[in-house]
Amino acid sequence: MSTVVIGAGLAGLAAARSLTRAGEDVVVLEAQPFVGGRTRTLRDRLRHGQPADLGASFIDIGQDKLLQYCDELGVALTPQVALFPSDPDGRLTAASPLRTTLVIGGRRLSVCERDRLADEVRTALDTTPPEPTEPVLAWTARAGLTPAARNLFCWQTGYNPVHEASQVPMSMFHPPHVGSVCWMMADGTDALAQALAEGLDIRLEQPVRATRRRRGQLVVETDTDRFSARDVVVATPVTPTLAIGFDPVLPDWKVNALLATPMTQGGKVIGQYADGEVISRALGLSAMSDGPISLIWARPTGPEDTVVVLGLLADRADGVLRDEERCLTVLDDLVAAATGTSPRRLAGVVQDWTQERYAGGVVSMLMGDFPRLPSLLAQSVGPIHFAGEHTAEMWATGMDGALRSGERAAAEVLQRRSTRQPEPLAVG
C-alpha cells in the first residue's frame, strides 16, 4: 500500500479519507477496538441507548471545518446552546463564564452574589489588562482580586482546558473563544468518526510498535503484523506518539517539541437522571462549581423524561476521578445544589483520560514556545507526517483542528507524490 495512517481519531480518519479520495492506497492502524479516539461515545451504559460522550462534546461557532464535515456526512446537531451569557453590556469577556449558575461550597449563589463576583472580575479585566501568556493565578494576584473571585475564576481551568490552574495562561479565557455559541452532535460525538470511517480500510487493535525506514520504504510494525508504505501519517496524541519507536531516530527538534507539550490531565463524568425537564429547566445554561467537578451542562431531554448531564473535572490528585461511585455522587450533589431538586440517577459513567494508555491526557497544552510549538509538531520528517489536534494551525486542541491537521497531512503526502520519483519497480 502507499500510505499507512497511525490512529483512527478524527485527524487520522480525515487524512485517510482525503488520501483515499485522491486514489491513494491507505490502511489505518488503530490500537483500540474502536475508532474515534478522544471523541469516543458509549451507547450501552445509559438507558434508552442515549449517547455518553466520553471525550469531545462541543462544536463552536467558527469551527467551519468541523461544521462542513458534519454537513457533508449528514451528522445532525442538537439545538444551539450557550454555556454562559454575555456581560450586561453585550460584550463577551473572561468574566462572562462566571455569569452562569455558580455553586460554591455546595451552595448555589444568589444572582446578586454571582453578579458581584463576575462584576469584580470584569472591572479587573478593564483596569488591569492581562498579558496573554500570564498564568491565570498570576493575573488574579496582580489584579488584586478578592480570594472568592480569584478561586472561582481560576477554577475555570478545570473545564477549559481540563487542568488544574497553575500552568494555564490568560489567553485561554481572554477573550473567551469557546462556549458562547455551540452545538453538540445529536447522536453522540463519535457519529462523525463513524461516518468518516465508512469505506476506509481500518485495522482495529493494531497498536504500532515502530516505524522503520528501509531502502526508500517504510515498514510499520504492530504487535502482530507488519505493513509497508511509502508514507506514514502519525495521527496519535502527543504522549502515545512518544511510545512509538522510529528508526532512524526522530531528530532532536521533533522529540523536544513532543516533550515540551504536556497534556492536560482530567476526565469526564456523565449521569442520566429522571425528571429531565425539571432538571434541565432548573439548571439553565450550565453550572460551575468550586468542587471536584468544575462545570456541568445537560443534553436535550431524552425518552421518558430522562436527561443526560455531563461534567468535566481536572485531575487534582484527590482520587475523585479514580472512584466511579464517588465521582457520580459528587455529580448528584452538584446537580442537586445547582437545580434545587433531588435528582434520581438512573445510570452513570466516568472517564479518566489520564489513565488511557492511547490518550495520555485530555488535550495538548501548547503554551510553551507558542506559536512555534504546533508548527514544529506538524513538520514532517521525510516521509513521516504528523497530524492530530496538537499539530493544527487553527483550532488546535479541538475536533476542528484535528480535521484540519488530517487534511494538511494528506496534502503533504500527495504533494510528495507529484514532486518525487515514481515508486521503484519491484525487483525479483
Partner: protein, 444 residues
Amino acid sequence: MDASSNESPRVLVVGAGLAGLTAAHALTAAGLDVTVLEARDRVGGRTYTVREGFADGQHGDLGGELVTIDYRALTALCAAVGVEVSDEVWYERPQARPGETPLEGYLSDGRIIVDGQVLTGGRFAAVDDEIRVALRDTPPAGHEVIEQWTRRAGLSGVARRALAGIARMPVQYDLVHIDAHYLTDAHVGNVRRIVGGSQQLANALARDLRVRLEAPVLCVRQSGGHVRVELENGEQLTADRVVVAIPPFVLPTIGFDPPLPASLIGALTSMQRSRGGKVIAQYAEGDAVRAALSHAVFSDGPLNTAWVSNPYVTSGPAVVSGFFSGADRAVLESEETALAFLDELVGVAVGGPVTRIAQHSKNWTADRYAFAMGVMYNQATRDSLVAQLATPERRVHFAGDFTDLELSGTMEGAVRSGHRVADEILREPTRIPLTEINTRMVRK
C-alpha cells in the same frame, strides 16, 4: 546594592527549601538583612523528614534523600553547618566494566522484579544479555525517548518490563517522558544520606536565619527601585532585592507586576511534571530487609523502586522507601493501597512475609506548594530552559533546583542555585547617591 549607605541591603527570600535557605545563609553571612518567607508551617520544602510512629528513633524522608558523589556543594554545606553525611552504599554495581553505562550498572542478579518475581539465575542472565546487546548494536541517541528506543531496539516484553523499573528510578517519569541520556550518561554510582534525615540540613541552615513560616506570597511588584512583596494575609513588605526560590510549577501561581516575560512563562509551561510521591514504612524484619533492599530494588509494577533508607543503621527494624509516579501516581491517592504495594514488593524481595510497624506517605502532586516531585530536563533543551529560568528580572532573582544547569531535580541543584543567586546579589554594585557623584567624583 542600592540602600542608603549606612543600612545593609534588605533581601526577601521567598521559599525556605534548600535553595532559598542556602541563599539566605550566604547573604546573611555577607552582612545583608535577610528575611525568608515560607508558605508552609515548616522549613525544608521538598526535603521532608518524618519520625512519628517509627520505632528506635528512626525516620524516613518523604522528599529528597539520596546524596551522590556529585553533590559537592551540598556536602560542603553540610560540613559547614555541622550536619553529618552517612557512609556510601552502591546503587550501580561496584565492579563496573570499562565504559559501562549507568543502565548496565543497575543490571544485577536479584534486584529486578518483573511480574511479581525477582529476576535471578538464567532468567536474569537472559535479560542482562539482551539489554547489553541492544545497547551495543542499537545504541540509543542521547535525545531519544527511552520508550521509543525500546521499540526501535526491538526489546522483548520481559526486557522492556525490567527496564520499566530501572528507567523510572533516577527521574520518576514514565518511559515516554525521559530521554536516554539518563540511562547512558547520568551515573548515580554510590549513594549516601544525611544522617538524621535530609531536613537536618534545612533545619541547620534555618537556625540562625529570620524565617517567617505560614507566610504565603501572593504578588511581587517592582517599581521605583524597590520590590514590594504582598502576602496572602494582606501584609506588604519592601526590599531592595527578592529571591524567588520556589518549585517550578508553583512559580506561575504567584502574581508578578510587571508580568514575567512570555519566554520565561513559556519555558515554565512547557515542562513535564514528575508527578507522584513516596511511601515509607518501617519493617520488623530489619536484617532480612537490609540484606535484600539496601542497594535498591526495581519493579515493573506501580511501585517502581524501593530501597532501605537507613542502611547505615545495622540492627533493629529497617525503613524502606518506595516511589509511585507517572501514570501509576493514582495509586498514591489511597495510602492503604499504596502501602499494600510496598508490603508486597518488600515481601517479594525478602522472599517471605514482612511485618510493617509504621508508615507514612506523601503525594507531592496534591501538594499546592509543590504540585510535583520536580522536573528533569531532556538533554537537548536543558541549557536553553535553564538559561531562561535562571535569568533575573531586574531586582527579582530566581533560585531552585530547576535553575541549575547540571543537577536540576536534585538537592545539590537546589544548593548550587542558592549559591548562584547569592553571588548575583552580592555582585550588584551599591548605588552612589547623585550628590555624592557630583561632589566627590566630578573633576572640578
